[in-house]
Point group: C2
Chain length 206, copies 2
DNA sequence: TGTACATCAGTGAACGCGCGTTCACTGATGTAC
DNA sequence: TGTACATCAGTGAACGCGCGTTCACTGATGTAC
């Protein structure tokens, strides 16, 4: 082999990593193969030694970005007490820093609209990661039955993603800050609230 | 003039109307000028008699779509009692019918991700419509101070848009239905809940 | 009322450009002896 | 250890294609007389 055994894999990973940032910044169709390769310090011709098609890279970059988000959540949640984990995640997610750095942030608000129009293959890959993310979120919801926690996890994630979507549309205006604040408070209050079914069950037991 | 006075305006409106559907279906960059004109029964050459650029049409089509959504909300809310308006809006918004028909639905989940990357001109136009939508939502929130209602309106809209975004990523799977249900219940419960500040004020008064 | 002319919404060919993809080639390094 | 050969990640020109935009032209209809 021309290069050491790991060389190709390292290059492949570098392309995916750089692409995951640029695609989140510019959209799933907002940047071309040549520019993505240039980001990784290469020329466009070599692209097809690493990927079957542009779409294949997009799928890998999506998965990579979602994995990085989840890794980031894990690191954050490990640093605080269980009952504070959700607050920690929500406050970081719905910050101006995240709003202003889509390239290193969650893919759902930055790529969500486009994903739903991609091929079934791409959509399935993304939906799988979405489910993983929901499951991780379940772990952050305190004091609920699994079923109720999953429901709450979905609702909280939807509020987080929707809030970021609206905040980014509003840019960096007053409205944008207002949106972030409203979404943050709502996401936290919603998860703190005990669902009626569980409350009723508890009342019965005591 | 070659055609009657209203003819050009009618054609213009037809292009905008058809484009607003197709752009929501295919994305802000997902369909070309030639195809958009064909939708309106014309050829592409005539496009620039109606619009300065493709972007100008996109802006008009965005505004049109948002106006139609708000008109739709108004019509629906007019048919039910004030305390049921929010439920009506949320349930229609977070339905499988809406999920499966992005072309005739709300632009926020279908175009939101892309809007935040458009020119300031496009973003401002959209942000203005977003604010109008929030204000309309305020009118559906019962029994709250204006400030609290606006906050709740933003949170509810974020949950609605985020839920639809997630549901569309999940396609038409079980997960998608689960997401719709979780988002619906959360949006309704959140708005029904009285914020602490208002509750305290009421307690003081009585 | 009838006729000649002016208007301009709409047509369709053409443009320049950037895109995803292909391909013949290169040359640094691993492998065989 | 040294040398000749094989490999293949990466290069850069070229491809076919679709895009947004331009432009000379058309022809139905409004207007002037």
């Amino acid at each position: 082999m021309r290069y050491s055994r790991e060389h190709k894999q390292e290059t492949h990973d570098r392309i995916v990593k750089k692409a995951s940032v640029r695609l989140r910044e510019k959209g799933a169709h907002g940047i071309g193969v040549a520019d993505l390769m240039k980001e990784a310090g290469l020329t466009h011709g070599g692209f097809y030694a690493h990927f079957d098609s542009r779409e294949a890279l997009v799928i890998e970059a999506f998965a990579y970005a979602m994995d990085r988000s989840m890794e980031h959540w894990r690191k954050q949640s490990d640093q605080v007490a269980p009952e504070k984990q959700l607050t920690q995640i929500v406050e970081t997610y719905l910050s101006a820093l995240h709003r202003d750095n889509p390239g290193h942030g969650c893919s759902i608000p930055s790529l969500g609209s486009e994903i739903s129009r991609e091929s079934p293959k791409t959509r399935k890959a993304f939906a799988g990661k979405l489910d993983e993310m929901i499951e991780m979120m379940v772990g952050f919801i305190p004091d609920m039955s699994r079923k109720a926690a999953r429901k709450q996890a979905i609702a909280t994630l939807a509020t987080m993603a929707g809030t970021m979507l609206l905040a980014r549309i509003a840019g960096t205006s007053e409205l944008s800050d207002e949106v972030l604040k409203a979404g943050k408070d709502s996401a936290l209050e919603g998860a703190r609230r005990e669902p009626k079914a569980v409350a009723a069950k508890k009342a019965k037991q005591s």
